[in-house]
Amino acid sequence: MAIRSSSSSRIDQSPREMFQRSNSNTSSSPNIVGSLLKSWKKSTDSFTDSKKHSSRNSPSARHMSPLRAPSHNGSQTHLHHHNHHLHHTTRDKYFKDLDEDWSAVIDDYNMPIPMINNGGIETTLRPPAVIQDDRAIESQKSSMDSYQGTIPNLNRTISNDLKLQYQIEVEKDVQELNSLMVRIEKFKKLIKPKDSTTQVNLPEIRKLAWNGIPMVHRPVVWKLLIGYLPSNLKRQEQVLNRKRLEYKQGVDHIFSDNHEKDVTTWHQIEIDIPRTNPHIPLYQFESVHNSLKRILYFWAIRHPASGYVQGINDLVTPFFQVFLSEYLSPSAKDDVYSLDPLTYLTAEQLSDVEADCFWCLSKLLEQITDYFIHGQPGILKQVKHLSQLVKRIDCDLFSHFESEHVEFLQFSVRWMNCLLMREFQMSMVIRMWDTYLSETSLETSIVSEDLMSDASTSLDRKSRTSSSGPSSSDSRQTTLSEFHVFVCAAFLVKWSDELMKMDFQEIITFLQNPPTKSWKESDIEMLLSEAYIWQSLYKDATSHWR
């Protein structure tokens, strides 16, 4: 496939370096640094060699303990794919040979299972991963020796190969942790510049955020990306206060006796809220139900052309829990999934969170207004674009769908309506939104006011179009909606091999419930990178979309 070579070279040039690591706070993959960081939370834990080792290499690590280390790609289920590489070359062995015995040994020592770093699933777009692996291997090999003395006790019966493998894993984790620290610092400098600058560098933040945002900075960065928080630092606090007050007064009004309740809308929201993220404890609390009802109802009342549409209840939740996490101590950010917000927030603070969610949801939905208006033309258009795109990038699959009478409308409405949220675990969605929100185009909502735009906005526009940033290297801006179609296409063709063997019923059933439960951040990042590649390859073909 011609795509392969061009895609890998594209990756090399792309500033959206697909394996550039952000923190992956939500990853649950059993990696070494992750477990180390977790154990730091517990003061009762005694120091082990490995902890000393890691903390020595990253002095600032300890106060960053909530930030779990990046996940390794792959999962146990994929290990067997690599068995046949055993004993081929030394280099291959370290990174591809992970058989069950190896895992068993590690289990014996209560050590996390090392994970391979080549993506979680089989895909035709694997080459970039391999390239990256090679690079990582080279750098790790060169610096490996210096860490030999600091490896935790391994039983002597473990072969040298295994020991070496483990050393490399530790080294890799340390490197990832270091790069995470660097990223956190980078974001910190960008959102809170120390010098006398009055503007945050939004294009730079956008570029950086595309590859993932560290958890500690995510709330602020999301608000900046989506255009809720102004880039003018001096105005930020003032704007927040004003917007939060406006929300509070608006809500007070619509829930007062002076407002005649829209019974249909209220009823729909009331029956949908208990069905929102039913598997996450956070969304079972009454306080959360009430907050979400207020946000959604207020939004619906203020946007009569759309009103509340099922699925918007999903779209508000990433904002909700990310903004809640701002109020949790760094070591407890993950508790957002399980704590009643009223145990750590005052009613006033919760109202502020609600307000932030409301405004950010409004900004997000501005980008996709036509998804939810009468007839849902935006969704139908997106579904059509997806089918056109798949016809181009995977003609065989498209023909197979045709011959099986599978229509895109039958499976991709939900993909569009909920921006693929239903297809992934929440933590993956949040990582995905780092990229999505950096793809939001503030210009779409202000393009008509272009001439009247204030200095800061035109400055933003100018620097954005002239910078070499990912979304501005082209002569035209991309939009979230457009990028999403490419993500959907990348998601679909990922299963191409399987789907080609299925009939109508199997295809629809598979796509209604795709096997993404075990997806790691690296899988999401691979998907986003693939989408980016498709987008850069097909951008001319899709310019008529807007």
Partner: protein, 219 residues
């Protein structure tokens, strides 16, 4: 249940739509019938969802391909597209919510407007386990069903009461209708060429799976 399977072998394929207000339990009726599952914490249906089950009626294996639709009004543009090639429909209401029963008129009208005129329709009063909260009397609904020539059953997806029976009655009715009339809905649906269709919406006997695979053409 004996003698039935969930496999590919079938004599007929019937496409059926599940419609009704949001929150009446359509998705759970479907999962109860096709997988014998009930989800207390299921998410809202966006667009349409799909499941199948094959049952035996009068010695024939009939595969029911059931499309579960989103109940909210806004999704009508997308969901009505699925009415067109359907040979059967179940209109579902919640016996504890009179508004969901009152809306059945509206659903029936919409079905008549978008579906084939021969479509077989059943009315289902779901959540019969919540009898203590009943808002819709059984007799009233039964009369309404009779007036409009609809099959009628009260079901509980939660405890599985009457769910199989309701689907089975509809499928049997469709089968009897076609074996009596030898309708060829292929022709009928040919008039609606724009309608999205599953692989075999027709009431004509389905080809066997081998044939289907080898020709890549289902009918």
């Amino acid at each position: 249940m004996q003698g039935e399977d969930y496999g590919y072998d079938y004599d007929f394929l019937f496409k059926i739509v599940l419609i009704g207000d949001s929150g009446v339990g359509k998705s759970n009726l479907l999962s109860r019938f096709t997988a014998n599952e009930f989800n207390l914490d299921s998410k809202t249906t966006i667009g349409v969802e799909f499941a199948t089950r094959t049952i035996e009626v009068e010695g024939k294996k009939i595969k029911a391909q059931i499309w579960d639709t989103a109940g909210q009004e806004r999704y009508r543009a997308i969901t009505t597209a699925y009415y067109r090639a359907a040979v059967g429909a179940l209109i579902v209401y919640d016996i504890t919510k009179s508004s969901s029963y009152e809306n059945c008129n509206h659903w029936l009208a919409e079905l008549k407007q978008n579906a084939d005129e021969n479509v077989a329709v059943g009315l289902i009063g779901n959540k019969s386990d919540l009898d203590h909260k009943r808002a819709v009397p059984t007799d009233e609904a039964r009369n309404y069903a009779q007036e409009n020539q609809l099959l009628f059953t009260e079901t509980s997806a939660l405890n599985a009461d009457n769910v199989d029976e309701a689907f089975r009655a509809l499928i049997t009715a469709i089968y009897q209708m076609i074996s009596k009339n030898q309708l060829d809905l292929n022709d009928a649906s040919g008039n609606n060429a724009n309608a999205p269709k599953g692989p075999t919406i027709s009431l004509t006997p389905a080809p066997n799976e081998k044939h289907k695979k080898s020709t890549n053409n289902c009918c």
